[in-house]
């Protein structure tokens, strides 16, 4: 069950990271598809590092 919890944590962090990254990019006026995708990518990297550190 502990491993299931860890897996759920990872999935949620990655989804949450992508979402938060896209929202921040939108707030920063990067509103093209490329800008939003770059923001989501930045958010995913941030989420991975959140989990690792």
């Amino acid at each position: 069950m502990l491993q299931a919890g860890v897996l759920l944590t990872w999935i949620s962090f990655l989804l949450g990271g992508a979402f938060s990254g896209a929202v921040i990019a939108y707030a920063l006026d990067f509103r093209t598809r490329k800008g939003l995708l770059q923001g989501a990518l930045g958010g995913i990297i941030a989420a991975i590092l959140y989990m690792i550190t």
Partner: protein, 590 residues
């Protein structure tokens, strides 16, 4: 009898010392003293009052003389030492060029597929990724990057982007001391629960999403009129491209020049990169237990010594990293808490909390659910320059609501162990983040200084992000990830992702609603009124939903995970909504 009166009086002294500096009269603070000074003075007053009570109740001289040690014993050394260890390694990183290396790495990210958008997102979230014991360390390391890229630097980001970025950075940096494994506030709560790292992921998830909502809030909250009138940051020449450069080569030349300026600004010695790697190895090793049972503080100190030897740093350079403010805040908070223990102030507060949970108007009251929904937001309602001040004083009260202590017989047993863990996660992330919107020296005031806005202009966005996203999400994650018996059960997944989606959709709608003037091209006579009304509605509804989510996390029955049904669930939800609404109103009023 005298003890009971002194208990109430000492509680009033505490409330006065905390609220006094927040009250403004004629544009000036009512009590223009540092909070730490006030708290220590308040603790002394409480001790004198307690001596008086002992004398009136016929107590002995020995009883009076033992008060000093009783108060002093409440100063817990472990979080102070962990924080000092974090500061020392930060000092070593600064002295060796580790933070300069970090700035170079972040700047280089712009050339990767992340581009400018992804890099700025990374900067906004960075403080909590490598969370230090105080968010000011990361903020200080990152601000030069933003200043250089900003409108008064090489103008790669606009004035509005800078306002959004520094607001998001401020709330993220402020909150980062909650989940920090090197002396963060969360470690105090984890100490009470006796599980290191137990509260980390819930806080981090809340911070990640809360940062995004704060950014979106401020992006829509600032109108173009405000941008011209209330944000006095100067905006120099635009990039050559946007000015309509005579030829493509002109634009390329201008861009090359800008990049050269940035490259000159961001340089780091080799030893800086090495010290950064040493720090990361120490941090990851300590978090994952790669060095056996070595305490984190010891690991950090060894890393500090290794960096000192490699970079040939003096002790003075390392000690320069220590920020006294959070340390004195923690000690002052502990002293105040100790004085409340001996004076009976905590007992009185527990009576107030129980009274609040039982108080009813026309048969309707807050209940425990409403009281908790309000209590977890209290630090952002009374934002101190450092969240530790109130956290150190109030955490014992939160813990006393749990099953084990018996310090406060009235409150004891209000919550089970699992419910206590949820409340602690929500309370601590709220406490940590509260130094962002604090108008009396919080991290947000640094951002406001950077964009030269009015003091408090960026506060609402941060307060909303903390209240409506960080706090309830920390509770939600704690309940449905960390404490769930079977996280992958269909019911658990549906509830978690359903509530998560609900919070996201609701907040997106509320933030869109926040400022009707955002999309207007001209200033209208009723614009400020409309904006104020929309802000009030947003905070009240946001508070209500936040309170309901926290209540849901606390009371949704699931026997396998240790949550038994304890009463009418929908009544609890309603009580949580009322408590959250009151919190939303108080957030705007204070």
């Amino acid at each position: 009898m005298a003890h009971e009166i002194v208990g109430i009086l000492s509680l009033l002294v505490f409330v006065f010392t905390v609220l006094g500096p927040l009250i403004m009269v004629g544009g000036r603070r009512l009590i223009p003293l540092p909070l730490q000074t006030l708290l220590v003075a308040g603790a002394l007053v409480n001790i004198v009052l307690t001596v008086l009570a002992i004398w009136l109740d016929g107590g002995s001289l020995n009883e009076m003389l033992s008060l000093g040690s009783a108060v002093g014993s409440n100063v817990i050394l472990l979080p102070i030492m962990a924080m000092a260890g974090g500061f020392l390694v930060a000092g070593a990183l600064e002295g060796s060029g580790g933070f300069a290396a970090l700035r170079v790495v972040i700047n280089k990210m712009r050339g990767t597929p992340l581009g400018m958008a992804g890099t700025l997102v990374f900067i906004a979230q960075f403080s909590t990724i490598f969370a230090m014991p105080c968010g000011r360390i990361q903020a200080a390391a990152l601000l030069p990057v933003i200043i250089t890229l900003g409108p008064e630097g090489v103008r790669l980001i606009t004035k509005k982007q800078m306002v959004v970025l520094v607001t998001a950075l401020a709330v993220n940096a402020a909150a980062s001391c909650g989940p920090s494994q090197i002396g963060g506030i969360g470690q105090i709560g984890e100490g009470f629960l006796q599980q290191l790292g137990f509260l980390t992921s819930s806080q981090e998830f809340g911070i990640m999403i809360g940062t995004a909502f704060t950014a979106l809030f401020i992006s829509l909250f600032v109108t173009r009129f405000d941008m011209e009138e209330k944000i006095r940051l100067t905006e120099g020449r635009q990039l050559a491209q946007s000015l309509g450069a005579a030829s493509t080569s002109d634009a390329t030349l201008a861009q090359t020049h800008d990049e050269e300026v940035i490259a000159r600004k961001f340089k780091a010695p080799l030893v800086g990169y090495i010290s950064l790697v040493i720090f990361l190895v120490a941090l990851i090793g300590a978090v994952f237990g790669l060095f056996g049972k070595t305490p984190i503080t010891t690991t950090l100190l060894v890393a500090t010594v290794v960096i000192m030897l490699i970079a040939r740093l003096s002790i003075r350079q390392v000690i320069a990293g220590i920020i006294l403010h959070p340390i004195t805040a923690l000690v002052a908070g502990f002293l105040m808490a100790g004085s409340l223990v001996v004076s009976g102030g905590f007992k009185s507060l527990s009576q107030v909390l129980v009274w609040l949970s039982e108080f009813k108007v026309a048969g309707v009251g807050l209940g425990v659910a409403g009281m908790i929904a309000l209590f977890v937001q209290i630090e952002t309602i009374m934002p101190m320059p450092c969240g530790r001040i109130l956290a150190a004083a109030l955490l014992p009260i939160v813990v006393a609501m749990g099953p084990a202590t018996g310090w406060m017989p009235n409150a004891s047993g209000l919550l089970t162990y699992n419910q206590l863990a949820i409340v602690l996660a929500a309370f601590i992330v709220n406490a940590a983040a509260s130094c962002g919107p604090s108008p009396i020296g919080g991290i947000g005031t640094i951002s406001e200084g950077m964009v030269r806005s009015e003091i408090g202009y960026l506060r609402n966005a941060q307060s909303y992000g903390i209240m409506a996203a960080m706090t309830p999400l920390a509770a939600l994650v704690m309940r449905f990830w960390v404490l769930a018996h079977n996280p992958f059960s269909l019911e658990n997944l549906l509830i978690f992702f359903g509530l998560l989606a609900g919070i996201i959709v609701f907040n997106l709608g509320m933030i869109k609603f926040i400022n009707p003037a955002t999309f207007k091209k001209r200033r209208t006579p009723t614009q400020e009124k409309e904006k104020n009304l929309a802000t009030w509605i947003t905070f009240l509804l946001g508070g209500a939903v936040s309170g309901m989510v926290i209540t849901f996390a606390l009371f949704w029955p699931d026997q396998a995970s240790g949550f038994v049904s304890s009463g009418p669930f929908f009544v609890y939800l309603l009580q949580g909504a009322v408590g959250g609404t009151i919190a939303g109103a108080l957030l705007l009023l204070t």
